[in-house]
Symmetry: C2
Subunit: 310 residues, 2 copies
């Protein structure tokens, strides 16, 4: 891509955790001509980011970080978006596009609109991540073959939107646009409810009288360990997701509770046919996910590589 | 291991799915001097097992399969144990040890004791598996570095027990013994409840009006896909597990429901501190599981190998 074709010339990344540091690395890897500036509210993270040369410059204030940028991407927990936006506002130039990577979108859109009136805001959510946190956890290929959902406002400038799409596609993502409310409903079921349930069962298992925590850990390969991975995700990020996407999460949780009660009744009544039919239906979904390239088809995700050695 | 040191000389495997075929492969790999005979109730599976030479002989009846064996391992769904035991009974020799690989143990112990009075029965449960089924899904290292729980009766012959321990250790497993009731409680939380919840949420997500199934699949990388793996496990096996371990599963489910209701209330009330504290506690469990060698520490299980390519 020649310099004229770059979707942006200077990308400022606010928040240098897993997502922010992955974004900086991905931009540098895919579009090295783009200038990258970075900031994190934690001084220790800024020091580390400088040590590993995560960006062309790590500034000491949000306003300084965004000076001269034509794209700012907020990579902070969704509950901190408004404050981060206000802090950087004095440094924003004219025409800069403001985006983010938050996991809930209607609340973020409202917070950014309130904090940055008159600015060009295009919220975004790359559906990618790992259970790890911090600037060392990021990697440049995190977004490759993953979906990035943009939730542009109705009056978005189409040229701005096209530039943001081009950036994410250059990082390897597949881009989809939808309205923020629909995003929040879809993600409530594909991400937020799974996390809530994983957090719950891991808590349940660690707080029993007749089964010790060491037994739970020892025999976790029977299924439990899959839940511990997502229940190891960043607590601040997830607190904010549940608080900002409350209504959709509670709606999906209501459905889940109803379905769980049905299976509970089937178990209680010894109704094997209901259980068998349900378990057969759910098997098909897995196949579709693998066909769509959204998971690894190797048994056990290839965890053991069939060697069993860890 | 010299022929004199072999824990058994002839192992009969009844049921040649993921577990049975893995057992046959593992015995052949680790202790090639042991004779292996195999049987599956499904004629197509027997044909396939012969094609891939899974055992020294694939017999056409359970009784014929166990003739001359000094160990029989039942690898059928736990609900089919009694019937499988009765079918093979006419072929059993004196002194043969009978074991199994079922995921619930009190019910299996009772079914085997009723079907095979006077026989030496030592129920077992290797806590290992993948989401795949059938004779081609098995592999010889499935049990390596995994726990195998034996639930011997109080009057077990100690020499028999030692031989069964030696076999499982030779296959790479770590062996623990406990009583069947405690096993069922531990596994209810580390395996059965996680499967029930995964089956539930995958069903919930595939049956919504405002979110399409294709959206669920598309954006599954946000957490949902982890649940689809275990919800793709064998429906017959899992139906039987829930029916045979009903009381322990319902007890653990009661705890889970109570804990989920607490988090639901915190979300409804906007109580971020409760959410944050809970999410921080659960993170520590993950670390312990990785330290115990029961999961892969690489982010995302190393699914993407950081290359993103699938």
């Amino acid at each position: 891509m020649s310099a004229q074709d770059l979707p942006f010339r200077h990308v400022a990344v606010i928040g240098l955790g897993l997502l922010g540091s992955s974004l900086a690395r991905a931009v540098r890897a895919a579009l090295p001509a783009i200038r990258i500036s970075g900031y994190d509210a934690d001084p220790a993270v800024r020091l580390r980011a400088r040590d590993i040369a995560l960006a062309d410059v790590i500034a000491d204030s949000p306003a300084e970080t965004v000076e001269g940028a034509d794209l700012v991407v907020l990579c902070v927990p969704v509950g901190a978006m408004g404050e981060a936006a206000r802090a950087m506002a004095p440094g924003l130039g004219a025409g800069v596009v403001i985006s983010d990577v938050g996991s809930s979108k209607a609340g973020v859109a409202a917070a950014l609109a309130a904090a940055l009136p008159g600015h060009r805001i295009i919220p975004a959510h790359p559906v990618a991540g790992t259970e790890q946190s911090g600037p060392d956890a990021g990697f440049s290929t995190l977004f490759r073959n993953r979906w990035c959902i943009l939730t542009p406002p109705a009056d978005v400038d189409q040229a701005d939107l096209a530039r943001l799409v081009a950036l994410w596609e250059a990082l390897g993502a597949r881009v989809e646009t939808m309205d923020a409310e629909h995003h929040d409903l879809v993600l409530a079921v594909t991400s937020h409810l799974p996390h809530l349930i994983a957090y719950t069962i891991v808590g349940t298992a660690s707080d029993l009288e007749r089964v010790t925590q060491s037994e739970v850990i020892k025999y976790s390969a029977g299924g439990f360990r899959d839940f511990t991975r997502i229940a190891a995700s960043d607590p601040t990020m997830w607190r904010d997701v549940f608080l900002t996407n409350r209504d959709a999460v509670l709606a999906m949780l209501g459905r889940f509770n109803r379905d769980l009660a049905e299976l509970e009744t089937a178990i209680r009544d010894g109704d094997g046919d209901t259980l068998f039919d349900h378990f057969t239906r759910t098997r098909a979904i897995r196949r579709s996910i693998i066909e769509m390239g959204q998971d690894d088809a190797r048994p056990d995700f290839g965890r053991s590589d069939h060697s069993g050695a860890k």
